[in-house]
Amino acid sequence: MIKSEKRVIKEPRRWYELPLSALPYKLSTEYKTGGWRAFRPVVDLNKCVRCMLCWLFCPENAIIWDGKDIKVNYDYCKGCGICANECPVKAINMVPEGGGSS
């Protein structure tokens, strides 16, 4: 497995210091895409039946199962709402980000 701690990146980088083939010099996991989110999924663990459908359907692998509860990784969740849509017991609510009244 890749250990991203090993990475040493100096910026700005000159063109001849960049890897060949326009390869990204950072791991894709370092680009936090959670900032794209307009709605935040919030899990109601009292309603949740741990069926794992949200975990299965999440296109970003942003649902975390810790063996007991469902959690959302807000660093990468883009707020698409697929989890909320798939949840059979409506345990996930999409809450507006940034100053929403709900």
Partner: protein, 414 residues
């Protein structure tokens, strides 16, 4: 110098241009071929699929549903570390357009044989260079050949040029549709093992240092060292990623020359210096530049005129991208009139090679007069009589010392 493989040790066959390319690919230890048939390229794919069906090659042959997929498939193959090849023509190349830029920007070595054919509309299957000229800014190395023998020689050279660690750019080998692709010719081939040795065996993948892995790794799709090819790259680094392409192109010209010389040592065949193939230019007042198979006809006429004491010459441009600016400047210095023949036109401008040659000669103190002849569009025949008329016109211009009309059309009803 006698070649390492003397001509009597070479395999002699009657092949057309397409077959010559197919045999070259067969000998080049190609791992993946993905192609879609289109006239006049069909024979390349047909012949090569025979080799695959007969078990004569180890190649994975992918019959795709379009040229867009053909190039996409070999981009994937090249990214996985394979030696990859495809072939197309005309509309097929037009459909590949989007992927052309991706192949070069990802610095993936591969070879594309283009059997030059006019673009629609109206629909036409015969030769002109409009298809290839449409991709001149796509970051590919473009070689134009004159005959089937050269198509064979150049296809093998193309793999070596493409995979050179200083280059790592995709290469096209352009051969004229029907004029070369469907005309039988005596072709001399080197034995398989000699070609294998020339290419250094199977493709070797270049290495690069990747920060997050903390080591130098081969640039290929490998689960042990995961890489992402071609992700989003905005105003932060896109510009920096374009400069290596510029630099690789600068280095490519010398690699083309070097590989061409290495091939000459093996086979005894060379085409000028590998970049320009000149005839009679040393003392010439009038020189014609041309790409592709027409060079043969022009050379024939030039020889005839020279035997009459007229100082005329020919320069065949073998390498169009990167364009050999210095070589052109050197060879055309001191010439009175240059006739630039183009088998394509940029509407609203001139022929593509005219623009390059104009740019090349601008720095000279005593610039030759330049005339642009657009000829042979849609496969219109270019007989010697037409070329001779052009030379006479150019000799007239040399005497008068002025060009009244820069853009002229050769062999069109007017």
């Amino acid at each position: 110098m006698s070649p390492k493989v003397p001509i009597e040790k070479q395999i002699r066959m009657a092949l057309n241009g397409d077959e010559a390319v197919a045999y070259a690919v067969k000998q080049s230890l190609v791992d993946v071929v993905a192609a879609y048939p289109i006239t006049p390229q069909t024979i390349i794919v047909e012949k090569f699929s025979e080799f695959v069906a007969n078990g004569e090659v180890h190649t994975e042959f992918v019959p795709v549903e379009s040229e867009h997929s053909a190039l996409s498939a070999i981009v994937g193959a090249a990214a996985a570390g394979a030696r990859a090849f495809t072939a197309t023509a005309s509309q097929g190349l037009a459909l590949m357009w989007e992927i052309l830029y991706i192949a070069s920007a990802l610095r993936l070595p591969m070879v594309l044989a283009i059997v030059n054919r006019a673009l629609s509309a109206p629909i036409n299957i015969h030769c002109d260079h409009s298809d290839a000229m449409g991709m001149r800014d796509a970051g590919w190395i473009q070689l134009f050949v004159e005959n089937s023998q050269e198509a064979y020689d150049t296809t093998i050279q193309a793999f070596k040029i493409s995979e050179d660690p200083n280059v790592l750019l995709p290469v096209t080998v352009n051969l004229d549709g029907f004029v070369l692709s469907h005309t039988l010719e005596d072709v001399h081939m080197l034995p398989d093992e000699v070609v294998h040795e020339f290419l250094g065996g199977y493709r070797r993948v270049s290495k690069t240092y990747v920060d997050y892995l903390g080591k130098e790794i081969e640039v290929k799709l490998d689960p042990a060292n995961p890489l992402t090819f071609g992700p989003l790259d905005l105003y932060d680094y896109y510009f920096e990623h374009k400069i290596p392409q510029v630099e690789a192109m600068k280095k490519a010209k010398d690699v083309v020359k070097r590989v061409h010389e290495e091939w000459y040592e093996l086979s005894g065949r060379r085409y000028g210096d590998g970049v320009l193939d000149a005839y009679g230019v040393e003392d010439a007042d009038v020189v014609v530049t041309v790409l592709g198979s027409t060079a043969g006809t022009v050379r024939y006429v030039a020889k005839k005129l020279r035997s009459k004491g007229l100082k005329v010459g020919v320069v065949r441009i073998r390498l169009f991208r990167p364009f050999p600016f210095e070589e052109i400047r050197k060879i055309l210095k001191g010439v009175k009139v240059v006739g630039v023949m183009d088998r394509a036109i940029s509407f609203g401008s001139y022929g593509p090679s005219f623009l390059e040659i104009s740019a090349a000669l601008y720095d000279l103190k005593n610039r030759p007069l330049l005339v642009n002849y657009v000829y042979g569009l849609g496969g219109r025949d270019v007989p010697p009589v037409l070329i001779e008329r052009m030379y006479q016109e150019l000799i007239g211009i040399a005497k008068e010392g002025e060009v009244k009309e820069v853009l002229r059309f050769l062999g069109v009803r007017g």
